[in-house]
Amino acid sequence: MIFELIKSVTFFELIALVLTVTAFICLYRVVFGPRVGNRIIAVNVIGTKTAVLLVLIGFIFDSLYFVDVALVYALFNFIMTIAVSKYIEMGRI
């Protein structure tokens, strides 16, 4: 049963699977990162990974409005990183 499952995975799904696994591995750094710096880095990495994963999912399910969602998500990810790093540096936004 597993073998049929493995054979039926297309290339896009494989890439999406690898991206999801690496995103969860980055979650370790978010939880156990010693200070706030590691946490922002990990959240930034997970953000870009999720954006790319969204575009991939759009292609897997052939519903291409996901590309717009991914574009907006990438914008948010950037703004969030800038806001958090400014808060850390200056104590206020």
Binding site: I41, N44, I82, S85
Partner: protein, 101 residues
């Protein structure tokens, strides 16, 4: 033939993402982790998006993917630089390897 090119782009992109993740976990210091993830992330995302843009061919989605690609190429280094500045301002000194006699 086109699918081969697309598969090449996507596998290269995934490779860079994996190296960015390994760099994030294995490197000893904040700045070295920033070093790894800043580059690996941007490169991986741009390769995968370029591969998908080629796969999508001449459709409106390709323009959106290319806009997203350009956006990530422009802003990811800026975000990493902002994090680096913020960390350095809070007094985190770069990691120095102890001189082993």
């Amino acid at each position: 033939m086109i699918n081969l090119i697309v598969m090449g782009f996507l596998s290269a992109g995934v490779f860079f993402f994996i190296t960015a993740t390994i760099g994030l976990l294995r490197f000893p210091d904040l700045f070295t982790r920033l070093h790894a993830t800043g580059k690996g992330d941007t490169m991986g995302a741009s390769l995968i998006l370029m591969g998908l843009a080629i796969y999508a061919g001449l459709t409106p989605e390709t323009i959106k993917i290319l806009i997203m690609l350009i956006f990530i190429l422009l802003t990811s280094p800026v975000a990493v630089h902002a994090i680096c500045r913020a960390i350095y301002a809070t007094g985190v000194k770069p990691w120095v390897k102890e001189e082993t006699k």
